[in-house]
């Protein structure tokens, strides 16, 4: 019997991504954001999450996706090392239980600077789900 893991899924453009549910603190609606001048382009700003400050990170910039961002984002809030991290995503999907048998590491053809943020790929019906290695994102932000 294969084991399965649970993932919070979301979409950026038409791409499907997932994060281990255990890593996700909460999902929120679009929130007012204060920009951080001079910060790397993937840092979109700071969000007031009930008195805690979360750093909003756009995966579009981090993954070098060229297409136009939507008007408003949903927030997938994760715990970083000493700070809160909010991934800005277009659309929230279901929590999916995925079988390990469907898992594969990310193909080598994906550039290393993007592949480093991907734990791997789940082949699900009609789509491919990229699992985001949130620890790696946190690491990048703490370097």
């Amino acid at each position: 019997m294969t084991t399965s893991r649970q993932f919070s899924t979301f979409k950026i453009g038409n791409r499907l991504y997932g994060i281990d549910v255990m890593k996700v603190q909460e999902v929120t609606q679009s929130m007012p954001m204060s920009s951080v001048p001079l910060a790397p382009n993937y840092v979109h700003g700071l969000i007031n999450l009930r008195g805690q400050i979360a750093t909003a990170v756009s995966l579009r910039e981090l993954f070098d996706l060229q297409e136009k961002p939507p008007e408003s984002f949903m927030n997938v809030v994760c715990r970083g090392d000493g700070f809160l991290l909010s991934l800005l995503v277009d659309e929230i999907g279901d929590v999916m239980g995925l079988e390990d048998s469907e898992f594969e590491p990310a193909p080598e053809t994906i550039p290393e600077n993007i592949r480093m943020y991907m734990s791997g790929i789940y082949k699900i019906e009609g789509n491919l789900l990229s699992v985001i290695n949130i620890d790696k994102v946190v690491e990048t932000m703490n370097n």
């Binding site: 007012p32 204060s34 001048p37 001079l38 910060a39 969000i47 000493g82 700070f83 703490n142 370097n143």
Partner: protein
């Protein structure tokens, strides 16, 4: 030792005693986990250590005995015998007793007697128990008998004798009192029983005078009795985990935020009752915030008192005599900040002892008291805690510091002379700087003063330094009261709010834009500056720092400037809006944002938005304003004098370059103005030249020299220009064409030339025109640097060559100069030194005359300004001519007074020549002529 320290000690002891008690009962009941014996051992060990440290030797002795007793049990993992346990309990009671007595009277003497007895009983029990097993030798206890303890006993017992007994008992604990002639100890637990004290052991206290009766003592059970008896003195404090206080503080911080939000909401709301409630909430929250902050407050004396010891030991090591005095030890500060300043303070005090205070012999030689003083003063001021560490040692030797800084490549040798004393002083905080010639064990331990500064700044504090050479030094730490809640000012730029901690804010000023009458922003070499009460304030635009889009500054009538203090230096931050002041709660930022060095944190504002807190020092560093300091550009003594009234008004040629602001040169340097069609400009070698009259005129482009780029698409320069504008000057018989963008004006200026914000080649200083500031270009220096004439004197043609041969052959001629204006003084020095003369500079006629009188044969020539304080040039010349010794001494007047009547007067009073200022060439020729004449006569 002060009360606070003792209270801390006894509170901790109490905690330990309670823990030991509960652990002992666990051991006795057999419910103990295996590590309980270890815990027990550690606790009594700690108690022993701290007691002895604080000089409570009776407590220490009892704890020591307990430790010794527990040691074999712990090591061998054996349950102690019941006798041992009894004894340990009794010891514990005695400890408790002693501790209470310490609380009440700062002395543990009341348990002196009983502790001896109890210790010997314990030892007996232990030796008996382990001896029977033959597993432990008695001397492994550390105390095999009471005898080794005698040295400790001795000093303790003696004072007991000295104090009349009834008094001692009264002062200390009412429980320790004579009850019965039969010595007895009522054992509180587990089963109270009378224990006759072995006689032999009593005799062990051999130091006690035989006349003193053995104190019969009853030790009350630790239970209800003690508490009733002590009720009055029961401390009204409880010990709380710091983490709980931290949480409390955080929650209050959150509450402050909610309060702010509620207030903002209620302001928009018309519900009267809600308004009322929110105002009460406001009050209560503020009060709560204050009270919670108090829970974390500790007297700074808690750490200061420890320095007494540090200084004493240090002084001993260093062979110095140093006295540490404390002032304001009761000043309170947040516990976490107290921890944070402990190490920096230690370092500063060590530094003062090591580098500051001199050895006694040196001090005596300097006429100081042999005993050096280090004074630590702390007080509250403006919501901050100020800690000043002052020593009366040798102070900082600025010249030595400077040399060292250049050696260590902390600053460049070019920059060195431009630093003010204060800037030089701050060098000791630069990374990699250590002032001690030899790295001593005391302060040279890899951590320098830079760490002090970094650590203080990390907690939002500021380090300042005052030093007087030979007199001593003061280092001032300004520390916020608390970290979590910071008073700040809220500003906005680019539509987004930012917070600036009040600590960094000096004042807010407004500059008028456009044609208003008020002060406006001016530009110096493209950099904005603002005249703030007469001194120039360098400005930084926050929009520029943060690279924000747009610039709505000019659309407003005013520009808002926040005058900030970064490392003791002032600068103005241009912001779009100044909004409000607020207490903000600092939230940490992720590393990715912290690393930008522009933000020190973030906060949530009343409206729920996040505002970044600006890191003022970081911004100053990023904008490179550190090299320009408007408030303290006292490069040398010359500068201050440069600001005094200068009656030598003169004409200046004002022109523009590819940079904002205006530039100028003294008109007297300019021969004529010319325009040359660009197609006449040729290039010879890599030098642009133009045919001018009968010779070739080399062109020097000031834009090129200063590295001013040609603005793109600009029409003011090359683009549609077919001509180049040039002013022609003569230097040492050669002419040069200086290219500028446009000649703007010739102005007659009365104000003195101010020293430049930053000393750099080609800039003499700044000149205040009627409505703005112009940069005075040091055109002679520029020409020299471009032609490299300083090195190649041969290139100056026959005229130049013939000038100084005689001067060069003999010892350099000595020239005495009297000149009261720093600008001209520098000019004259430059000119004369380029001519190879030896120059003695004086500030006025009187000083010049005194100098001359002191060395009647010391000078070959005198050069004097006319208008000077104290003694004018005319008076000087008159005085010189009165003395026949100097009848032949050439005296040249160097002036801007060029009316014929003045010349006439000059000749009358005996000036040999009457020359115009700033004509270096003419001056050198004249001097050469006069000196060779004189040489011929002699």
């Amino acid at each position: 030792m002060d009360d606070a320290t003792i209270n801390e000690f006894s509170a901790e002891s109490e905690e330990i005693i309670q823990r030991v008690s509960s652990n002992l009962s666990k051991v006795e009941k057999g419910t103990a986990e295996p590590d309980v014996l270890d815990a027990l051992y550690r606790d009594v060990h700690t108690l022993k250590g701290t007691s002895q440290l604080f000089g409570f030797l009776n407590l220490g002795r009892v704890a020591h005995a307990m430790e010794a007793a527990l040691e074999p049990a712990r090591r061998l993992k054996i349950k102690p015998s019941s006798e041992m346990l009894d004894s340990l309990y009794q010891c514990l009671d005695v400890l408790d007793q002693g501790n209470k007595s310490v609380q009440a009277s700062k002395s543990d003497e009341p348990i002196g007697q009983v502790s001896e007895k109890i210790v010997s009983r314990l030892i007996e029990a232990v030796t008996h128990y382990f001896k029977s097993d033959f597993r432990v030798l008695p001397d492994q206890f550390g105390v095999s008998d009471v005898a080794p303890l005698e040295p400790i006993v001795a000093p303790v017992v003696a004072p007991v004798v000295a104090v009349p007994l009834p008094k001692a008992a009264g002062v200390s604990s009412p429980i320790v009192q004579p009850i019965a002639p039969v010595p007895s100890i009522s054992n509180p637990s587990p089963s109270p029983k009378e224990i006759p004290l072995p006689k032999g052991n009593l005799e062990m206290s051999s130091d006690a005078p035989p006349s003193e009766p053995v104190l019969p003592t009853k030790i009350a059970p630790t239970g209800a009795d003690t508490q009733t008896a002590q009720a009055g003195q029961e401390s009204s404090t409880i010990r709380v985990q710091v983490s709980i206080l931290d949480n409390l503080m955080n929650l209050v911080g959150e509450m402050v935020l909610v309060r702010n939000q509620v207030l903002q909401y209620s302001a928009r709301n018309e519900d009267y009752q809600f308004l009322n409630l929110s105002q009460r909430l406001d009050l209560v929250t503020s009060e709560l915030q204050g009270e919670v902050m108090k829970t974390r407050m500790q007297a700074i004396g808690n750490i200061l008192t420890k320095f007494q010891r540090v200084v004493r030991d240090l002084a001993k090591d260093l062979g110095k005599k140093i006295e540490l005095t404390l002032e304001g030890a009761e000043t309170e500060i947040d516990k976490s900040l107290l921890e944070a300043i402990k190490d920096p303070l230690t370092h500063i005090i060590r530094n003062s002892c090591d580098h500051g205070v001199e050895p006694p012999a040196d001090r005596k030689a300097a006429g100081k008291n042999e005993v050096g003083r280090v004074h630590v003063r702390s007080f509250h001021e403006g919501g901050q805690v100020i800690v000043e560490i002052t020593d009366d040692g040798r102070g900082l030797d600025y010249q030595k510091l400077l040399k060292k800084a250049v050696e260590k490549q902390i600053i460049t040798s070019e920059k060195a002379p431009t630093l003010s004393d204060r800037e030089i002083g701050m060098l000791i905080f630069a990374p990699g700087f250590s002032t001690a010639a030899t790295v001593s064990a005391v302060s040279g331990r890899g951590v320098g003063m830079d760490v002090v500064k970094t650590n203080i700044e990390k907690i939002g504090g500021v380090v300042e330094l005052d030093s007087r050479f030979g007199k001593g030094m003061t280092i001032r730490l300004k520390i916020p009261l608390t970290l979590a809640i910071v008073p700040a000012i809220l500003i906005a730029s680019g539509g987004q709010p930012y917070a600036i901690p009040q600590v960094k804010l000096l004042e807010l000023v407004r500059a008028e834009n456009g044609e208003g009458d008020g002060p406006s922003i001016e530009y110096l070499q493209g950099k904005p500056v603002f005249r703030l009460r007469g001194t120039l304030l360098p400005l930084i635009d926050l929009r520029e720092v943060l690279k924000l889009e747009g610039d709505n500054r000019h659309s407003n009538a005013f520009t808002n400037i926040a005058v900030l203090n970064a490392d003791g230096k002032r600068f103005g931050l241009i912001v779009d809006e100044i909004r409000d002041t607020a207490d903000i709660v600092v939230k940490p930022l992720g590393q990715v944002i912290k690393a930008l060095n522009v933000y020190s944190g973030a906060t949530i504002m009343g409206d729920g938005r996040v505002a970044l807190i600006l890191d003022v020092n970081g911004i100053a560093q990023k904008s490179n304003i550190f090299s320009q300091d408007s408030s303290s550009n006292t490069v040398s003594a010359l500068v201050d004098e440069g600001r005094v009234k200068d009656s030598n008004a003169q004409e200046f040629l004002v022109f523009s370059l590819n940079s904002e602001g205006k530039f100028t040169v003294p008109l007297c340097l300019v021969n004529r103005l010319e325009e040359f069609p660009l197609d006449q400009v040729e290039t010879a070698g890599n030098q642009r030249v133009v045919k001018y009259r009968d010779s070739v005129l080399p062109l020097i482009s000031l834009n090129q020299f200063f590295g001013f780029a040609t603005p793109q698409g600009s029409s003011s320069t090359d683009g549609n220009q077919e001509k180049t504008t040039v002013f022609v000057l003569t230097k040492r018989g050669r002419t040069y064409g200086i290219e500028v963008n446009q000649i703007l004006d010739v102005l007659y200026i009365d104000s003195p030339i101010q020293d430049p914000l930053k000393e750099s080649l080609g800039i003499l200083g700044n000149l205040v025109l009627s409505d703005e500031i112009a940069v005075v270009v040091d055109i002679l220096a520029i020409v020299s640097s471009i032609t490299g004439e300083a090195k190649h004197t041969g290139e100056h043609g026959p005229a130049a060559k013939s000038k100084n041969p005689k001067v060069n052959d003999r010892a350099p001629a000595r020239i005495l100069v009297a000149e009261d204006t720093s600008f001209f003084r520098r000019q004259v020095i430059k000119v004369l030194e380029s001519g190879g003369y030896q120059v003695t500079m004086t500030n006025d006629g009187r000083e010049a005359f005194d100098t001359l009188e002191a060395q009647p044969d010391g000078f070959d020539l005198v050069l004097s300004d006319i208008e000077m304080p104290r003694m004018t040039g005319f008076e000087l010349a008159t005085a010189i001519r009165k003395n026949p010794v100097w009848s032949k001494l050439p005296v040249i007047a160097l002036t801007t007074r060029f009316k014929e009547s003045d010349r006439e007067k000059g000749r009358e009073v005996g000036f040999t020549r009457y020359l115009e200022k700033l004509k270096g060439e003419e001056l050198l020729d004249c001097i050469e002529e006069l000196l060779s004449n004189e040489g011929g006569k002699a």
